[in-house]
């Protein structure tokens, strides 16, 4: 984990430019995770097929207006796959009729969006925990609505497979990183305010992206959620493996300590191809020709759920990773209970059958003679 890689400390540190680089080195490949707040916050993931690849930043150009090509992963030929997730806008809308369906609302019920590229972001370096591989990026637009509030992204990278302690407890592995978005204490512009988040996924133009929703019978780690959605980019040919993904469960929480009562469903719109790359410094600096972005809106809450102003909190987590997304399986506890629960009766049936057989054999030949 390193902060502002290659940045010469003798230069004056630029305000609110944060570039966090996490390198995960495998036996014969390396994964790079780059989180940056230059412009709209973005997470760039790069997969290289050598264990010695590195990130090079041309800082003078990266901080200038012409950023194109200023962030590189070297050696260049080793890059197998790269993509980025960008948080571009936060929309707030006035849901007077409590439909929670922005697609059906007139444009007049939308407030001007918060453009995340115009936000001032806190210092990533101070919130980075090198041991736990965590970092927190919080920002505000400087207006009075964000006086006590913030838009935050919590980033975690992992060394091995596992789950977070708190819901939604997504299953992560070493090939993934987790981003948790939360919106706390923001002053709402209406008593019926709900939010939606605009996300953009940048990838190679010949790898179209799509969102697939898988149903699962297992809700042990995220109670009452039986679905997992993943935004994947894979070649149109279905047999080839998935190269990168953003995975989430369709649930957001209305309180800082998630509980079943405070869960609120979220829905995504179909991804649309964007005309240009999102306004993130990192994306513009790394991606050149041959890459394009697709965007979707994530809507929080459904009709009837409390509005944002009841708790002034909203959180939602997702995994951003490389390779195939992790798939859930039954926990050992469930399997043990099932094995015991089904095994004991089966054993009893067998025992019973044997007992009956023996009894019949013994009493069979004697027969039964009625006395009367």
């Amino acid at each position: 984990m390193e902060f502002n890689p290659g940045f010469n400390s003798s230069q004056t540190p630029p305000l609110s430019v944060n570039l966090l680089h996490v390198r995960a080195r495998g036996e014969n490949d390396t994964l790079h995770f780059l989180l940056c707040s230059q412009g709209a916050p973005a997470l760039l993931v790069v997969h290289t097929n050598t264990s010695s690849s590195s990130v090079k930043v041309d800082w003078s150009r990266f901080l200038s207006d012409d950023v194109s090509g200023s962030v590189k992963v070297e050696p260049k030929g080793s890059v197998r796959y790269s993509s980025a997730l960008v948080f571009s806008r936060l929309w707030e809308y006035d849901d007077v009729n409590d439909t929670a369906d922005p697609a059906k609302l007139p444009p007049s019920s939308f407030f001007p969006p918060y453009e995340l590229q115009n936000f001032t972001w806190g210092d990533l370096n101070r919130t980075t925990n090198q041991i736990a591989h965590r970092a927190k990026l919080c920002g505000s637009d400087g207006s009075e609505r964000f006086f006590n509030g913030s838009f935050c992204l919590g980033f975690s990278a992992f060394e091995s497979e596992g789950r977070d302690g708190s819901w939604p407890r997504l299953l992560y592995n070493a090939n993934s990183s987790q981003l948790k978005f939360w919106l706390e204490g923001v002053k709402e512009r209406s008593n019926f305010s709900r939010f939606l988040l605009e996300l953009q996924y940048v990838g190679s133009s010949n790898l179209p992206s799509r969102v697939e929703t898988l149903r699962s019978i297992d809700d042990e780690y995220t109670p009452s959620i039986f679905q997992v959605s993943q935004w994947v980019s894979s070649p149109p040919n279905a047999t080839t493996p998935i190269l990168g993904y953003v995975q989430w469960k369709p649930v957001a929480y209305r309180k800082a300590t998630p509980a079943l009562v405070d869960a609120t469903p979220c829905r995504h719109s179909t991804p649309l191809l964007m005309e240009q790359l999102p306004p993130s410094g990192l994306v513009l600096a790394y991606f050149g020709k041959g890459y394009e972005a697709s965007g979707l809106n994530m809507t929080f809450s459904i009709a009837g759920d409390p509005f944002y102003n009841t708790t002034h909190y909203l959180s939602w987590s997702m995994l951003v990773g490389l390779g195939s997304p992790p798939t859930e399986s039954f926990s050992p506890l469930v399997i043990t209970i099932m094995a015991l629960g089904l095994g004991i009766p089966l054993l009893l049936i067998l025992l019973g059958a044997i007992c009956v057989c023996i009894q019949k054999q013994r009493s069979g030949p004697r027969g039964y003679v009625p006395i009367n």
């Binding site: 009452s224 959620i225 039986f226 079943l260 469930v334 209970i337 009893l348 049936i349």
Partner: protein, 465 residues
């Protein structure tokens, strides 16, 4: 829990059916048929009053289930506190199962007793609703407690009335009708309360605990209606007593707690089956609505409908299956079958995305089958003078189990989700299956077919002669 009462009465009173036939038949012939307690038109009025007597309590018992999401949201509850609403209904009945019959027989008398229990139900529901109106959860709990005091005992009173008026004149049919009415109450509740809430919300233009309180107050109207039935029934019963000079009716229950030490092992196994089975049904129905919405993408209305299917099926299936079990005997086999079907349907719900209607219909059938086969079995293993104690004990244990498991189920759901909850229910069902297996081997008599049982009875009779 009302089935056991019915079965109990049926078992006990069928034998002396002939006793009172035609007693008081010489009442005044000048009265109009509708006013004459000896004639059918009047009896039908009494019968409908009896049926509606329990309607309110059955309607309101499952109010929390029908409004699960609304209650949790408006009162800001997690699932385990929500399930307290069911647990606190069961607590008083752990004791009252023994006392209900005694109170009716010795302390209040049937008429006053019925009115008092109806009042408890009514007041309990009103307190429950007031708790929602004032946003005080402890008040809601208190309401459920008071409601519970009245609820189960009212079922005892209802059965006593039925025996008193219809002994020897189609008592089984009357019990059947009362049961169907109870199921109707639950079903109507499941399907209607959500709509009532929606309408109130529309009128008030907002959710919140006040809306919930008003909705529950409206539900309380059914209890008031049942109370009125109790009053009218009390009046008619006194009038009939005056005209026919019939004896005061009693529940006929004799409960001696010292009998417990004489209970055979097989009875304890029956208790385990009973608890294991009912805890896998009622708490599941209590929590079912959200499960169907989340896992199977049902709309709230559909989810209520499917959640009530168990009750709907059991209304017509109970008499049919009862007839089947009566004809064939072999109660244990039927019980084991019911348990296996239940296990299968729980597993379907847990591990597949198959249409849940299949699983829930199976659950409905198995529930009716178990009720028909299990309750009469008690009569085969304990002598008749201990029956009252045995049934009282069984209900008491069942209520204890329901209260505990309701809370456990809520906590499991809060921390581990529905899959784990279903696995837990499967484990409950498996444990009772094991007890069922235990019953097959030691006993000769429990698993006899009807003809064999009759032969045995004849043998013992001829021996004793």
């Amino acid at each position: 829990t009302e089935e056991e009462e019915k079965e109990k009465k049926e078992g006990r009173h069928d034998e002396d059916d002939g006793d009172e036939r035609g007693s008081g038949g010489g009442g005044s012939r000048t009265m109009a048929a509708i006013c004459d307690p000896t004639r059918w038109p009047h009896r039908i009025i009494v019968l409908s009053l009896m049926c509606f007597l329990g309607f309110g309590s059955y309607f309101c018992y499952d109010n929390p289930s029908a409004l699960q999401q609304q209650v949790k949201q408006d009162m800001d509850l997690n699932t385990s506190s929500f399930m307290q609403l069911y647990a606190w209904y069961s607590w008083p009945n752990v004791v009252l199962c023994f006392l209900g019959g005694f109170l009716l027989d010795r302390v209040f008398g049937i008429r006053l007793g019925t009115i008092i229990f109806s009042l408890f139900v009514c007041v309990g529901q009103v307190i429950f609703a007031a708790g929602a109106l004032f946003n005080a959860f402890w008040l809601m709990i208190l309401g459920r407690f008071v409601f519970g005091i009245g609820g189960e005992s009212l079922a005892v009173a209802q059965n006593t009335y039925a025996v008193n008026w219809f002994k020897g004149k189609g008592l089984n049919l009357v019990f059947g009708l009362q049961l169907s009415m109870a199921r109707l109450g639950s079903t109507v509740n499941m399907n209607v309360m959500g709509l009532v809430y929606e309408n109130i919300r529309g009128l008030r233009d907002g959710t919140g605990y006040t809306t919930l309180g008003i909705t529950l107050m409206i539900a309380a109207a059914t209890c008031v209606f049942s109370l009125i039935c109790a009053l009218v029934l009390g009046y008619l019963d006194r009038r009939a007593e005056r005209i026919l000079k019939k004896e005061v009716c009693s529940t006929g229950e004799v409960i001696k707690l010292t009998d417990v030490k004489d209970f055979p092992l097989s009875l304890w196994l029956i208790f385990i089956i009973c608890v294991g089975y009912y805890v896998a049904i009622f708490p599941f129905i209590g929590l079912g609505q959200v499960f169907f919405i989340e896992k199977f993408n049902f709309s709230p209305v559909q989810a209520s409908a499917i959640n009530s299917i168990v009750y709907i099926i059991s209304a017509p299936a109970s008499p049919l299956l009862g007839f089947l079990v009566d004809k064939t005997g072999k109660n244990i086999i039927w019980v084991l079958m019911a348990v296996i079907i239940t296990l299968a349907s729980h597993m379907m719900l847990a591990f597949t995305f198959w249409n849940p209607w299949i699983a829930m219909c199976l659950l409905g059938v198995s529930y009716s089958l178990l009720a028909c086969a299990l309750w009469p079995m008690v009569a085969f293993v304990v002598p008749e003078h201990q029956l009252g104690t045995a049934y009282g004990f069984m209900q008491s244990i069942q209520n204890l189990g329901l209260a505990l498991i309701a809370m456990a189920a809520g906590a499991i759901l809060d921390s581990r989700g529905y899959l784990f909850l279903e696995v837990f229910f499967c484990a409950c069902v498996c444990s009772e299956y094991s007890s069922g297996e235990g019953l097959v081997f030691p006993g000769g008599e429990l698993n006899l077919s009807t003809s064999a049982r009759a032969r045995l009875q004849k043998d013992t009779l001829s021996h004793s002669e």
